[in-house]
Subunit: 464 residues, 4 copies
């Protein structure tokens, strides 16, 4: 998962993009980058590993002059944590400087890449988005609009992206619309962002969300709608609402906070915990769900777990040395809330189960009489091929274990998940969700090895 | 404010202290340091500016060998952000290596320092705690116990401190008991910490809180109670419960989470907001208060403000450049919760008023119909002379403005504070609180310039 | 100017390359990089700005596993001091990882680049060598040997380069042979380097120098001579002997130290300074010349200038603030040697004249009665288009001033240069030198804007 | 060994001190520091590990405002490479900020320190100079002049030091005069430095060298000679001339360059190498000696060894891994000069013998027919107790081996040293040298463990 930003016609655009990336920090902490384009069309790039606030200094922002900018913040995925994979890309092609910031995952990147390489293209990273840049540069289309469209029509999978060519910005969302993207107005200029919360911090107001297949061009403070991309069955990622997006964002037309509260209510309706004394969330992602559960069930809400917010930073080794479970670094139980009580613990989802197991252990040590674990989404049984860094099927506990087995593993008294139907009801009863990781119903053809660029033949270049 | 840790008889004591400091990070982000003492009595110090996780690396922890350690994390106060002021101090005196980690503020530090300097003492920092080290080194008492007592009897004000002399650890709380301190057991060893939440992360179990005037010696896994310090009227800092300590700690015999919830209930009882649609907190410090308010009032709880937890890190200039209020970087309103509603906003306290004004502005922009601001403590009218870095009286809005004036400044429909009595009732109806910053009733004689070491004469050495 | 290294069939090849680069540090201080290839053909790159010893750490060398490596150290040239321009390049092309380290300057890089860009090639740097990589990747030749040859036959100008494709290393010197390159044996493996001094430090023994047009392939400890590149008139860079190469190297079949001593003798023969008391060098590049001058003339040699060898490091601003001439930071006169004497100062060459003027000022302040300046090469009247970062013609003092005018500018009593013929006699009376910067006799067609990639159209991407 | 600087009455004094330290870099590369005092008497300190150019940035120099400054650069000695030992010291005592920069070694530091500690003094470093600061602060003398004198009269051994008290600078050289120190004028202000070469770079002109026992006070651009310290037999360190000082300095009234040339001549007169073809130095310290040898003997001078000047920087591990002798990193032989010849190698002194053995190996590998090693000083048989970091007696090869044994160890054909008398003749036939390391004739009573502060009892504090 990643966050992308575009800014056009706003002075000091890189600083505005910086604020936007800052608000999208939850979408990726591995690296951050900004390309800025100045009035004569010169583009400069700065990118670095780490958080947005570490990646940029006053000095680096000063270098990024201009009123056009695009930005990117990248999620950490195993094996490719190298600067060469940080975005945006910036290259010179025949129409001038070309830069790209991509959120999503292309499902046919390997075939396209293999073909391009056979034709003499040189790849400098192992990231799927790089193929788009090559496809644009090699397009025979007469116009730049046509070259970009040419590229987008060849790639399949999930993409919500921003491209700059010279001083023009293009924004597009694939026709299935997996990932959110929104356009806003800032003074006489325009901004694009992965989520509306970034518009708030940039000081922009929402113009509209980009719909599946939307392909727009932004220039001189004007949005020009280019012909839409070929339509496909819409499949919005429900996990964005359940977990990924920030609660203060509105995506796919829904308030994330509102949906999460509703998911909590659904849990209470269909998966009650009669006799429980108190309900609390695993903070912060399931706060709204716990609140909904409490409202609907009448079970008192409390704060049973305190989260140490300094954990975002790299944590060094000593913990392992002391055999302190990582979860203990991040969460601490409030004994006063838990001791002697029957507690309902609300979490948004359960992936490997290791963190939850650690949490349950802490809750029981703090004196819980009974622990009722409730999940505001169904069991995750398959990987995401559209940009969320879920682990392989083997690591997903629900891919090979029954709910009862998981309950025993966690050591809780009861364990219940929302069903697919209950979740979709909570998310807004629409027939346009991607819930492949829960249901196995993938909206695109899926190759054997996706998600990650195939390291095809043994020889491969790794710019560290 | 600061956090202090002591560890004795635990292998790899510095790593245990590191975890303890990590849990006390909220008590100070300016600098962190650890002294470790090895089996033959050699003491080593590492200290650095910044957060605990930045100040220490695997390499620096490896250097800190030994089974005895003390640690310190320091709160940022204006004008003295220099490494020389980071604690612990470590010096050689005639009985061997002596180190000190101090939480609190000595009210007679200036006189003591002036006298020591006249007698040839060399000071290397501008921090009050340094006088204690000199007093110990110059004591004529025959035993080390006596030398430490000698020093403690000469200083006045607030101190909860840990001292190591050779391989022995001393812990003491001044007789008024301003600041918390707790002892725990970890395997066959012992630990000391400012708050119980640090014991949780270190894996220790509570032995007991240190009471006002307690003076103990820890050696070879045993606690030896030394004769108590001369008694004074107890005056526990009520602000530790209202704001400073972590909700998962138990201090002064009270669960912080429980007290805060009760303060929220007090607010609802005495300062209702009839007709309001929703109540929410300024996260995270007033979460429990908002929950208590909602329970007692029946007004629905929601999450109206989302906090960006990446803000802990240094934030660079661009924000100012863009005239983005700092508060916007830290908080974002949830429009869906606020728009068209009459909202009750709960905060723990109000200092300068600037942050609250910014928040109110954001809440109103998000469409609030009415804003009712409620504070879970009385107006702050005076500075703290006992270790909390409140601003000067001039900067405290309530020292020169009426509640009605503050209401107008904030731009809210109603503004109400807990009264002193209501707060004390909520905190546990005991007659032993220091509430000087609210009431002006200072438990010690107060000099004109306190809190901060007087920069007496123009010439002063500043080791950067 | 740059230094290049290749290593094949030597365990821990990156560390060997590191030593080689270290010995070639004088050929470039802007950036350093190494690509290592492991036994299964995976290539990894590490590059960084600054000196070799700063660019690499134990950790970065540990990552660079394998028995094949190429390395590069880059000279600082204005306007392009960015990491993206650091070499080696490393890309994936259809035959696997391809890396390049280039010393020299291609005179037709702009046309080739323009054409490649029109054909959809994406450039990530502003350095001329990048075209070679694209040409290889786009070659239609059936074999890798053929693809590399294809590329080399299209580029014109100066190149002494090392290329790795998979685990094979190619080394080539353009047919005019501007820059030196030597092959050595290290155990059962082979190494390639810009100068023989690097072989000494790597512990290798010389196999042979590469001659102009040599094109070899190194694999499994064997050198395979590929058919030579199309012959051109040989034009070895005489400035390598005069100034650039290290005195302990043997290049173009000549001992650099020996040639410089001979140049000093030539100076004494043809440009005596009768009545002078002492002769000294501007250390260290003209040490051997001063020695030769003293021997031939009988004038006593001494050390009149001491060089501060800590100057290599970045020197910060304060100097300017104090109006200390930069030259004073680097050199200090020995008053005892100079005071009251008539001195002969020997330098290798004179470019802008500013440093020499500063030196002369210092020498006169130290009490010199007379100053006779002697240069062991002719006046430099034109830029180098073959890889030496001489300034533009406008900045070359001898391009627009007579020797008498320069003498007056420097403020010396006499100023004499070697003539072209005298220099060539000293360098070994061969008819195969490039002396274009002295004579204007450029061995290749020269475009208007060379030496530096033309920033053709205003829009250009600058990855910082 | 260390370098010290004082500046008074010069605007931007810290930058001037920075230049001075830069010129004294050869006297110490472990750490560097500057204290600056502003017009109202506030003193600020910045110090850091490493070279002067690394220790200071534009930002740190900007902080050091004022027209008075003292600076220090410290030589690396084993076991104490920690920031706490970096100078200058800066403390507040009753008369204001007091700072100290010390060059030399106090022979009674341990007794003084033990006594001070018994009296309650707190030491923050393990360096001998710290006792002086405590002695000043505890002096009962009525005036500051008296307090400083009080301290100086109690310490024994070698010291050339600069002290600032408020805005006044004191400079003193112990009565035996082991180490050099010189005063210069810079505009209307004054500077003090360890060697005259620092005056050159600061742009100052020599006023006078401080003589043994000189004790001066500098204030408002005026030098006030305070009564001289009690006289002792003068014993100037001859090793400063042989090796330590820069050749462009004049110390003890002698040009270092001139003395070294004369030492080379002495070598040639008394230790000829008949039949040798060429003579060369181990650069750069013995360059002048080789020149003198060549002149006197008529044997041709050449450059047989090239020194890599980038070596000053930290060199990382790989070398060991490759078993490359460290000496090879630093020096490379010029085969052309050496091959087939009988060579005379001139070095200033021989300490452990390991470097020389490595050099000889390289010279022989380069084809030398015969190697005649000549040393411009006698065998070093004992440690220095006055500030030069010679190794212990056990490590000094000449303390336990005869010249013939050393010759065999080095593997040379002949090995000859200057005798004590020949060296003193060369240094200027005066009866006031300290040559204890050659002769065992120590000018002060010498304790068993000197040179290094005794780590008396096991418990000791080590601020890392």
């Amino acid at each position: 998962m990643c966050g992308v930003i575009g800014v056009s016609g706003v002075s000091d655009a890189a600083r505005v993009a910086y604020l936007g990336l800052y608000a999208l920090q939850h979408r990726g902490q591995e690296s951050a980058g900004i390309v800025a384009v100045d009035p004569v069309g010169r583009a400069k790039l700065h990118r670095a590993m780490g958080l947005v606030s570490d990646a940029f200094t006053e000095a680096s922002l000063k270098e990024l002059t201009g009123d056009v900018a695009i930005g990117h913040t990248r999620y950490s995925t195993a094996g490719s944590t190298v600067l060469a994979n940080a975005q945006p890309y910036l290259v010179n092609y025949h129409a001038g400087p070309l830069s790209l910031a991509h959120n999503g995952n292309l499902t046919n990147a390997n075939e396209l890449r293999d073909k391009l390489v056979r034709d003499g293209a040189l790849f400098v990273s192992t990231v799927d988005g790089e193929v788009i840049v090559h496809l644009i540069a090699r397009s025979k289309a007469a116009t730049i609009d046509g070259q970009v469209r040419d590229a987008l029509e060849q790639v399949d999978g999930a993409y919500s992206l921003v491209i700059s060519v010279g001083r023009t910005i293009y924004a597009a969302v694939d026709s299935r619309g997996f990932r959110p993207m929104v356009i806003g107005r800032l003074g006489s200029g325009l901004v694009v962002a992965s989520e509306s919360c970034a518009l708030d911090l940039m000081g922009a107001t929402v113009v509209r969300e980009l719909l599946p297949g939307d392909f727009v061009k932004i220039d001189d403070g004007k949005i020009l709608d280019l012909p839409r991309l070929a339509p496909r069955r819409v499949s919005r990622c429900v996990f964005e609402l359940v977990y990924f997006s920030r609660p203060d964002s509105t995506i796919f037309g829904e308030s994330v906070n509102h949906v999460r509260r509703e998911l909590g209510r659904q849990l209470a309706r269909h998966h009650p915990a009669p006799g429980a004394d108190v309900v609390f969330s695993v903070p912060d992602s399931s706060n709204a769900m716990a609140l909904g559960y409490s409202e609907e069930s009448g079970i008192k809400l409390d704060h049973g777990l305190i989260r140490n917010h300094y954990v975002g930073r790299t944590f060094i080794n000593p913990v392992q040395a002391l055999r302190v479970q990582k979860v203990k670094i991040k969460f601490n139980p409030v004994r006063d809330v838990i001791n002697g009580r029957s507690v309902v613990v609300i979490d948004d989802s359960l992936v490997r189960g290791t963190t939850s197991k650690g949490l349950v252990g802490m809750i029981k040590e703090a004196g819980a009489r009974e622990v009722h674990f409730r999940l505001a989404s169904p069991p995750i049984t398959g990987p995401c091929h559209y940009g969320i860094a879920t682990p392989t099927r083997e690591e997903l506990i629900a891919s090979s274990h029954s709910v009862e087995e998981i309950r025993q593993y966690l050591g809780v008294d009861t364990l219940e998940y929302l069903t697919l139907g209950e979740m979709i009801d909570g998310a807004g009863r629409r027939n346009e969700w991607c819930h492949a990781c829960f249901s196995g119903d993938y909206p695109t053809p899926v190759q054997l090895t996706l998600g990650q660029l195939r390291h095809s033949s043994p020889p491969v270049a790794i710019p560290l």
